[in-house]
């Protein structure tokens, strides 16, 4: 059995090579005996672990040391798992490439390229060490980096895992999931932390599993929008799936772009309210109040610690819910969300899962990301946002390479049908080897 000292050395090496860690403890204590004894894992830095600093990628939380542990993590620890550090991320989860923060992870397959965001540290950590992580997705923050780094990433149904102890981005969208080297490990860890929790009123018990139909569908437009190399790799994976006897049909979605706009309106609106609490009274940066003439001076000084993307999302989110614009943006987006949920649920009545590339491209070079406008940046989430907005479970599974970089196939199932997603993810994984 690997010793904790050896594991921590491996973690430090991964951080030195790929800048993937926000925090590495000096040592780790003995763990409980359980099914995950001997499992070492890292945790995204927006999940609280008592006594371990948590910044969620933002300077405004500098100095914050949570006095409690997130339910998802305490459940894993109670079953024997050991936390060996916190992984870097886009500030508060605001990003697709993990460049919106002060410590930017590098892709282990090519350090000139992004690891993906916002759980970029998680995916880079798993790719570098083979060890799993507890990650989090709001609009694609597990699928995107998992695809870019060539690991498995699982995002559960909204509500399957308690959000207690999560530093939130958008409460109606945040979901705690996993990255791992294998489908089995990613789903085993997810199930071990799932289930309702009195500390999170939106956490739910799973619904009964549906009977499988043996029929899946590809979302044609999302394959069409992908780069040729990504399209070829993911279609090859679909062809291999056919060889297992799975029937594959094609479907089209009406609300792909509408889902993208609705998502960003809702996510930013919720983010702008969540970030209102960072005023230097309870967390992170807390300068001496005596040095300021008024509370406005004090709050303004504290909030100057927000980075550009945090400021942009606060501005856009506040605008979307401000008097005079709320109906046009926020309320409209909430109604469009209903149409998106209905569209996905209707298709998932007819098919076991829907398939699409996880991302329309391979991990971009940092030099290319710099050229993207915020709108172009947001548009990269076209494959991951719709299932996240609908709150349906999905997995990104490695499906070959393009330009020498990993490609992910995204497998999306109906609410609480993680078992069916797992089944197809294992078929794709087996056929990709």
């Amino acid at each position: 059995m690997t010793s904790a000292t050896d594991v921590l050395e491996k973690v430090r090496k991964a951080d030195a090579d790929f800048s993937c860690m926000a925090q590495i403890p000096e040592s780790v204590g003995p763990t409980a005996n359980g099914p995950f004894s001997g499992t070492f894992l890292a945790v995204k830095d927006n999940l609280c672990v008592a006594g371990m600093p948590a910044k969620a990628g933002s300077k405004i939380l500098e100095g914050y040391v949570p006095p409690f542990t997130a339910t998802a993590i305490s459940r894993l620890e109670a079953q024997g798992a050991t936390v060996v550090g916190k992984t870097v991320m886009d500030a508060f989860g605001f990003g697709t490439f993990n460049v919106n923060t002060h410590k930017i992870p590098k892709n282990p397959h090519d350090v000139t390229r992004a690891a993906g965001g916002s759980s970029g540290g998680c995916a880079a950590f798993t790719a570098a060490t083979g060890m799993p992580t507890v990650a989090e997705s709001t609009g694609g923050s597990i699928s995107a980096p998992a695809a870019f780094c060539g690991v498995v990433g699982v995002t559960p149904t909204y509500g399957k895992v308690s959000r207690y102890g999560l530093i939130d981005y958008a409460n109606s969208l945040d979901k705690i999931g996993t990255t791992a080297a294998t489908v089995r490990e990613a789903f085993d860890l997810l199930e071990a932390m799932a289930g309702s929790d009195a500390k999170d009123a939106t956490s739910l018990q799973a619904s009964p599993e549906k009977r499988m139909l043996g029929k899946v569908a590809v979302v044609t437009e999302l394959f069409d929008r992908a780069e040729p190399g990504v399209r070829k790799s993911t279609m090859d994976a679909v062809e291999k799936l056919k060889q297992t006897g799975t029937a594959v049909e094609e479907v089209r979605l009406e609300h792909i772009d509408n889902a993208l706009y609705a998502y960003y309106i809702l996510a930013m609106a919720e983010a702008s309210t969540n970030l209102a609490k960072y005023v230097g009274l309870r967390y992170g940066q807390q300068p001496a109040p005596e040095e300021f003439e008024t509370y406005t001076d004090y709050f303004t000084r504290v909030r100057s610690a927000f980075g550009p993307e945090e400021k942009r999302r606060i501005l856009l989110g506040s605008f979307a819910r401000t008097a005079g614009y709320r109906g046009k943006y926020y309320d409209k987006a909430a109604r469009v969300r209903t149409l998106v949920i209905r569209e996905w649920k209707a298709l998932l009545e007819k098919f076991d899962v829907l398939l699409m590339p996880s991302m329309p491209c391979v991990a971009p070079r940092f030099s290319d990301i710099e050229k993207l406008s915020p709108l172009e940046h947001y548009a990269m989430d076209v494959c991951t946002v719709p299932p996240n907005l609908a709150g349906v479970p999905h997995a990104s599974v490695p499906a070959g390479k393009s330009e020498g970089m990993p490609v992910g196939l995204q497998i999306v199932g109906d609410h609480f049908q993680e078992g069916i997603v797992r089944h197809y993810a294992q078929l794709v994984e087996a056929k990709s080897k």
């Binding site: 509500g159 009274l281 807390q286 400021k311 501005l315 856009l316 605008f319 149409l339 609410h415």
Partner: protein
């Protein structure tokens, strides 16, 4: 709508300091993003209810009892008699 002015108004309300350069850049970028969001105007949503969550969340009730917790002030640097000590609300004369 003058987007740059709106950006300045919201930034002031949210206590976010912006440099002149940021005001220009955010004004331009927010304008581009809002123009994209405006495409939702074409989606027919009459009679469609809003979804504030992707799944039904049943109301969960618990006893209205105070439970011990260190979380609310656990990281505050300035706590007096269980209250947070903040900055002045107005300038002193």
């Amino acid at each position: 709508m003058d987007v740059k002015k709106e950006v300045e108004r919201i930034a002031a309300a949210q206590r976010i300091p912006l440099t002149e350069e940021e005001k220009e850049a955010f004004g331009r970028q927010v304008g581009q993003v809002l123009a994209a969001f405006d495409k939702l105007d074409q989606v027919q949503t009459e009679g469609v209810p809003p979804s504030y969550h992707p799944v039904d969340i049943p109301a969960q009730m618990r006893a209205d009892e105070v439970e011990p917790s260190s979380a609310p002030v656990g990281n505050a640097k300035r706590v007096e008699k269980g209250y947070l000590r903040g900055p002045r609300m107005m300038k002193t004369a």
